[in-house]
Symmetry: D2
Subunit: 254 residues, 4 copies
């Protein structure tokens, strides 16, 4: 049953339009007419909601990825879900993990990390730009993940993390090399470092910093997710797609 504040995934019945909206959020406008989201409070999952134009929508509970994709405000380039879960894996992040992340950006990866560390863990997220931080605060609150996140306006390349014994440190920033030695100090022995790089020059400089700092178990992977068309009789990969996001460096604090 939907509660006030839940996010609903609204799928046009028999149609191609989809949106995500907050249950109990009043009347919202869509390209298929107005939708009264208050009407979903207390309604069972799967209920049908009609718009002011008579278009019917099936209301399903939205996943964290649905909300991030449809509702998060985007200030900076955001990490893709395929890379976010890869980082979650190579950084060994799960329920209870204590993770530091820099930079916060719009908070996409922050939200994913926070979602997986619940209910005991915490994500310390650092950002040097106030405008990004403001967007991230709004995004993270909107999905109710603020209890698991500590945001801080701080340039970790200069000031470090001010933390110790972390399970993982994730760097998604223009100059992670300066932050790598601080990451080492902040990690517990065996803790994991993950760095996201989008160009080969960034990759090579980041790798050099990781080796220089004495990390071990260094690996680099790129993750490609190819979408297929699920139409029976003509099943095949989509013609066009994303062929590059970035490389993920992973290493352990030995």
């Amino acid at each position: 049953m939907f509660k006030r504040g839940d996010w609903a995934l609204l799928l046009e019945v028999g149609g191609g339009y989809r949106t995500v909206a907050k249950v109990g959020g009043g009347v919202v406008q869509t390209i298929r007419g107005f939708l009264d989201l208050d009407a979903l409070v207390g309604a069972p999952y799967g209920s049908v909601l009609s718009s002011s134009l008579g278009v019917r929508f099936k209301a399903l509970p939205a996943t964290i990825f649905d909300v991030i994709e449809h509702r998060f405000k985007r200030k900076a380039q955001a990490i893709y879900p395929k890379d976010a879960v890869h980082i979650v894996r190579v950084a060994g992040v799960g329920p209870g993990s204590r993770v530091a992340e820099a930079g916060t950006g719009s908070g996409f990866l922050t939200a994913v990390l926070a979602w997986y560390v619940r209910p005991w863990g915490v994500v310390y997220s650092f950002e040097r730009r106030l405008d990004h931080l403001r967007v991230a605060v709004d995004n993270i609150r909107s999905v109710g993940l603020d209890p698991y996140v500590e945001l801080q306006l701080r340039d970790v390349s200069v000031s470090g993390f001010g933390l110790a014994g972390l399970d993982a440190v994730v760097l998604d920033m223009g100059d992670p090399w300066a932050a790598v030695p601080y990451a080492k100090e902040a990690l517990k022995p065996g803790g994991a470092l993950a760095i996201f790089s989008t160009t080969v020059e960034h990759l090579v400089k980041s790798l050099a910093a990781v080796e220089e700092a004495g990390f071990c178990e260094v690996s680099v992977e790129e993750v490609l997710a190819r979408r297929w068309k699920p139409t029976l009789g003509e099943v095949r990969p989509e013609t066009f797609g994303v062929v590059h996001t970035g490389w993920i460096i992973a290493a352990r604090n030995c």
Copy 2:
């Protein structure tokens, strides 16, 4: 600090050998000599342990993926970590999720799912072969995830899941099409179905069953993880690698 029963990742200092062993598990044999794992009880993370041949090992806390990769007994073809976390994502699995899985196989995916649903969630895992189930029980106990898993000897293609209101159902079996209608009954509205297929014929038959059962938001993706050589001066992808594991069908119960 290591406690009895923890898994340690043991990395040869300055060398290429690595293994995973249970802290407090007595003396174990490796190709670098015998290691006394009792000596690690109470030792801090990052301690050095010497083998009977004088080879020194750094002892780090192992991640769930380290243990699965090195220590799980393998009876059936096991799902790759890259696909496991993709399934975790598309199935919306996280702390608190109630998930059903069939078949259990050797319990690799079961362990990954269980690790992410902690501490409130549960994985109901179904397998029709007793020999597989026995291996899975051992594997899952060895990592202490048995409180989050309910294993059952049952052919879900014939008998269904006997459950309702699940957040997700994951099918990794030879004939998932017969189980798809039961999966629909077992899911909550909006709940997610994920199916793993390794051949195009299996993929097409599974897709047909998913459409026939009335699922919506159907997608198919293949995930390719390309490892790179992190050697400075000659950074490049590895020459050889895994170029196929399978496709992951995802759908929602509308």
Copy 3:
């Protein structure tokens, strides 16, 4: 030196616009003004040509792929250059080859094959649609490859090829399976068959026909060409790209 009838690749000096035009073709309109192509007759390769708007263009000899990409009229879905040269390779096509192709479509692959079989070889190209054939005739004549091509309005699925002892047969059509037995008759012993498939259902039906007809050395490959951004300081793959065109089945007539 450019001769009347040559194709020139015209690159805007210091800019991003590029076009392909026929030397001696009179005045042509571009989005950068009019260009007098007669002025290039007798001019050396690399000459600069100014448009009516004063935009300067460097004139280089165009390759066959430049002309096909920019100037060929497109009636049907055309095969990509990356797949065309793969077919040339697996079909063993080169100077002197005798090749049959069906269907002709807009003649893109026909032109590539014809270009490589020069000066002794021949491409027999079959098409059942007259409107496609008319476009193909124009395209092939425009690049002067008509001496190497014999176009025929004929449904090879019904009537076969009417040829024997061919080095290679290439099928790029909706229902190649019906033509496969005829292809076998038309090939010399050891001759190569290549089939282009764009969906898994098409691929599986085509493979079944190839095995049924008794071909050997059967292989299937998909070719992915990933473009990289060559900008120094930010070298990386392009973000978006073509991730699917089709599979190429290759086999030998044993």
Copy 4:
């Protein structure tokens, strides 16, 4: 019909063994017994040849790629066929082309280029190591392509090509950057340069040299060929494969 000196592809009837041997080459040893290759002189394509152990082989005319793969002596790392035809395409090489190549290595790419430039074209191939050159001479003669190849012991990084007005220059060497300015001098206006790089550092240095020398139309591509298992009922990509060979830089002399 086979002539003395032709290469035959010998496929075990109903079996998995294959080899390539020279027709008229006398008795050769295989793991399936001795084969008398003189018996094939004058025999039609598709003839069956029995070994001394009674194993039957179907004899088909070998393609240039069959011979290169099975018979060429390998001294240096050889370029893959998928990359060779990509280079042929981006360098605009075809019948009649005048191409320079450095280094020769074992002559794999030399042979492919020579095969496509027949009957009017020529490949000038430069190598600084005498031991490589000797292997290349043998390889190229063995396929009868020596009339189309001029091999030279010369370090083009130091001495340039000593040629002018070429259609294409192909560089597959450790330090192509030093040779790039010489390549520009050797090319006709509009001529194509292709460089093969296997590491990102090599790629970046090569790109810098190409831009420095004033080439235009610079592109970088990597070509991935994924083999599929053609077994009906379980059609799927092969599990393991080559995931990296190198990048191909292409540019035009503007």
